[in-house]
Symmetry: C2
Subunit: 436 residues, 2 copies
């Protein structure tokens, strides 16, 4: 492969990551302590100007603990487009605070820990718990303020999937049609004969790996193309998102098994914009942020030619994500109006084939499926989730009338690392609140 | 000078500018027509992705007509910090529309033209006219929407100057103290023995020229340091704003004559942040944007280490600038509260020594002075103004109870090029509205 020699450049990037391939890991890695990586006490980006050793640059964003500052300040590191909140009034989020820090539960090794421990141990920047539409718990750490957007990473995918679900329902997109019928540029790529639905469920067969431990993995070409990782000098690879997508080739059959990959989302994001003639930020603003009565603008990262990163690019505030979760819990209804259709929410919650999910190599998430870019556990409470790198979560539990939003800067990128613990915490919160 | 050989790189940048040194110009340059440079009809950045020849990149931002798109989309080209509007309600801007397009006046050559002609001929992106606190005229062109922030360029200086005036009044800064008493890093620079007031009035003697026609001019080192112009390969010059300021040497005496220079503002901006321990964006938010009841967040460009560009970096919406102008017209009172002190507004309006202004080489602005980063014409109506590159204006006429905000993307950087015409238009508006 012509890109091979340049993968060496990516090694230095990957080497700075505390990467753990959970499936193979025998031992948990030694992690830096949450306190020792607190961006505020470390003084990251503090001072005018900050001392050289406290500066966080985009080129070193993946060098831990830089994300502990950067995930609250992504727009200060590169180009972004605004997701306008609209001109309407802010929808109320009534508060009914409840002491939850001391609530305790057993982790998967039988060790008792509290909600406060869990937050600390999982490097939580902000946590919101809503029950029956009321904010029962809201906490910020590392200097984060309520109005500050935090990086959603792959929770962006779920926003993209929600928009796609709506456009499919409205008949603007045919889920069974090949992607290339909307994006002829992708005719010779992996997506040439993949359907929209296969791409939305990530069952496409694509020569692309989302492995942060492997510098040759497609994820690095994607991040370089998107401008989130600087291109090495004389980098011959694709320099924009759409150029990158065109280079990705088919591998195996479409529709066979789930394989998690950001590239699928960028295809969907591109398609949404092509079909509507509106940018992703405009779609998100007009169809979700404005009708939700969001309190703040969200933002989305753009590449060097203005393409918005629909897979990992969005930043939003904790409360606005609470509004989003609450709207979905209520079948699309929020702020006195139907924000998205009940049909779309039902479609997402239906999930996909849990058998096909097994191909994805995520034993921790046994029983799950991934449908329209949402994680569906197929559990008794009917929970559904958005998830993102380094511990981003929207957990919606309709049976318990619960929404949890957790924003984090965990040293391990793959959120599967804390999956069992997080699920136990969500369940403990559901149990405690359900019994009220 | 060691920087000389690198100035060659800047030539290519400067060569793309339609630069005119107004003082020396014998003939007006041939300008591209406003219609032929309309970003919307040209299709700049239109499409997903835009065709290669329609892409606007930061590196080519100064290549006309790219600013006709870029000034509405600056945050999409690089790193910015949010100037939060706060959590309060939006202050009302009552509308009382009046037909002003057909209002006519004579230009300096005796040619009759209308307000509509004036807007078109000066490449106006948005125009707001307020009379007695009511919006009598509001118009957007080139696809600009009311909620979109537009680059203020050097009108940012007036925001910085307003903040400085407030901090001086509050005793946090001593106007007569040397800059280096607050910023010891500048002890060996031009500002080592310059006072805060000399820096605010730009009467410092500094080896730095603000000449867009001269690629060796300090303005290019400043823009490269600020990240608004990309550094040429192996550029040995300063790569951040504060590093740049340290390299600037004294030239002549301080306090002798006015000389317009962005570097002075960056010193003031740095000083504000050092003294308060807050970022410029925080100061602007807490002291101006939030109390004004601004409708939208503003934004400010940041350099590679997070230093905010207090001289040219702010973008804001037309209406929020109308709120700002109205607040200043009313002696600091707006939105039911005293936003800035009446003393500060009075101090700004007092102006500086018009004799010293003559040294600045701006014959078109005869009779003006520049005080605390505001343009003071010393005219009968007591007008005062903020101005920025390529035709940015806030014109406040207390006698006529008039505020005009004009945002533009004129091909000639120096706003002095249209100065006489703009002043005639402002006067015509004042006359027409005053007689109501």
């Amino acid at each position: 492969m012509s890109l091979f020699r340049f993968s060496i450049c990516a090694v230095s990037i990957a080497a700075t990551l505390l990467t753990v391939s959970i499936a193979q890991a025998q031992q948990p890695p030694a992690l830096p302590s949450p306190d020792a990586t607190n961006a505020v006490t470390l003084g990251l980006m503090k001072g005018f100007p900050p001392p050289p050793d406290k500066v966080v640059r985009l080129a070193e964003i993946l060098k831990y603990p830089n994300i502990r500052w950067a995930y609250q300040h992504l727009r200060e590191l590169g180009p972004t487009a605004a997701v306008w909140r609209g001109a309407g009034s802010v929808s109320p989020l009534p508060a009914a605070p409840r002491e939850l820090d001391a609530l305790s539960f057993d982790d998967d090794k039988g060790v008792r820990l509290t909600v406060a421990d869990w937050q600390r141990n999982t490097y939580t920047d902000a946590l919101l718990v809503m029950h029956k539409g009321q904010v029962v718990y809201e906490r910020y750490d590392l200097g984060m303020q309520a109005h500050q957007p935090h990086a959603l990473l792959s929770m962006s995918k779920s926003l993209t999937g929600l928009l796609a679900t709506e456009l499919i329902r409205e008949g603007l997109i045919d889920a069974g049609a090949p992607v290339s019928s909307y994006l002829p540029e992708l005719k010779d790529s992996a997506w040439g004969d993949a359907t929209v639905q296969q791409t939305l469920d990530m069952t496409t067969g694509v020569q692309y790996q989302e492995d942060f431990a492997d510098p040759k993995s497609g994820i690095f070409q994607y991040l370089i193309a998107g401008g989130l990782v600087p291109a090495p000098a004389n980098y011959p690879g694709p320099k924009t998102i759409t150029e990158f997508l065109k280079t990705v080739k088919k591998d195996g059959a479409h529709g066979a098994g789930f394989q998690y990959k950001s590239a699928d989302t960028e295809v969907i994001g591109w398609l949404l914009q092509r079909v509507t003639g509106k940018s992703y930020a405009e779609l998100l603003s007009q169809r979700i942020w404005a009708p939700l009565g969001a309190q703040e603008d969200a933002s989305v990262w753009v590449d060097s030619v203005g393409t918005q990163l629909t897979s990992v690019g969005v930043s939003a505030t904790l409360r606005d994500l609470g509004r989003l979760g609450e709207m979905l819990r209520l079948g699309g209804r929020f702020n006195g109006r139907q924000v998205v259709s009940a049909d779309s929410v039902a479609e997402i919650r239906k999930g996909a084939d849990a058998e096909k999910f097994k191909a994805g190599g995520m034993p921790m998430r046994a029983g799950y499926s991934y449908h329209n870019h949402w994680w569906i556990p197929h559990d008794a409470d009917g929970t559904f989730e958005a998830k993102g790198l380094n511990g981003q979560h929207i957990h919606i539990n309709p049976a318990a009338e619960l929404v949890v939003v957790k924003l984090s800067s965990h040293p391990v990128p793959n959120t599967a690392f804390t999956h069992t613990l997080d699920r136990r915490a969500f369940a403990a919160l559901a149990e405690a609140l359900r019994s009220r």
